[in-house]
């Protein structure tokens, strides 16, 4: 295996098994990372040592996915520019996006709710008030 293309292959594989290594290594779950690394290396044909060396080398210049670097409050900012329906659709993109959507500042209530449903609106307003979430 040549040095050059092995790096690219490894990157592809890590993406495939959905393992975001820079984030993992940056966290304080070192031992968990180690064990995952071992099981991961077993699955792939690469030797664990080689893999570690590669990880170390690429730690600096490999960035996580563009939207993963965006904190929740900024995702929310972007969602705020979408229509409420669009924003709701985006809430299934990932956990961070769902969290951002939960406290979205622009609410939309359609008039013409049946009487019983007005309570739902009350509940939502109450939740926003308690959490001091700006609308």
């Amino acid at each position: 295996m040549r040095e050059n293309d092995s790096g690219l292959n490894l990157l592809k594989i890590t993406r495939k098994v959905r393992w975001n290594f820079p984030k993992e290594l940056g966290g304080n779950c070192r031992s968990e990372t180690e064990s995952r690394l071992a099981s991961f290396a077993e699955k792939s044909e690469y030797k664990i040592r080689l893999f570690k060396v590669w990880l170390h080398k690429n730690k600096k210049n490999s960035r996580s996915a563009p939207a993963d670097i965006l904190p929740g409050c900024l995702i929310q900012y972007i969602l705020g520019y979408l229509s409420f329906k669009e924003a709701t659709k985006m809430s299934v993109v990932s956990k961070t996006w769902f969290q951002a959507w939960l406290t979205l500042p622009n609410l939309e209530f359609k008039v013409g709710y049946p009487k019983g449903k007005a309570k739902i609106v009350d509940n939502i307003m109450e939740k926003y008030r308690k959490g001091k979430i700006p609308i």
């Binding site: 563009p66 993963d68 669009e86």
Partner: protein
């Protein structure tokens, strides 16, 4: 002139009139803490160049409206946001940090425009987001708001 320093140790000189569009730096100057170089530890030089380009262009916003150069500025804005996702997010983060309201608005609007009418799958792919929701969780969200996932106008293309 105000000197800004990016996190990779490059210095940039910017006119004060331009740089005070950043609420953060404006406050710093007013408080007299901007006597020498202002270090910006979470902005790299590539992003800072973009931000400065924007600031310089928008320096005479008020004047532009009078002289009818507004269209020119609009065109510049359109050109400006014509960048990759990663770059766009870098600029958004910088704009947020520096507190440049107009730039923030411009970039977030552009991001939202690009996401409009896209399918969830396309969004994930475009932004390279890993889906960390389990299938049940995903289904639960969809069941809670089925109306959001209706409609034929879903665009599945990635660009």
């Amino acid at each position: 002139m105000v000197k800004l320093k990016s996190n990779d140790d490059k210095e940039f000189e910017v006119e004060e009139a331009a740089v005070i569009q950043s609420e953060m730096i404006k406050n710093m100057i007013e408080d007299g803490c901007a006597t020498s170089v202002i270090p910006l530890p979470n902005i790299d030089s590539k992003t800072l160049i973009k931000v400065i380009e924007y600031l310089n262009k928008h320096i005479n916003m008020g004047k532009a409206a009078e002289t009818g150069e507004e269209d020119d500025l609009k065109e510049f804005d359109e050109q400006f946001v014509n960048m990759g996702w990663e770059e766009l997010f870098d600029v958004i983060m910088a704009a947020n940090y520096l507190n440049i309201h107009e730039l923030m608005e411009l970039c977030c609007q552009s991001a939202a425009d690009r996401l409009k009418n896209k399918s969830v799958r396309a969004v994930r792919e475009m932004l390279k987001i890993t889906n960390d929701l389990t299938e049940e969780e995903e289904q639960e969200i969809i069941n809670d708001a089925p109306w959001a996932f209706e409609g034929p106008e879903i665009d599945d293309t990635v660009n």
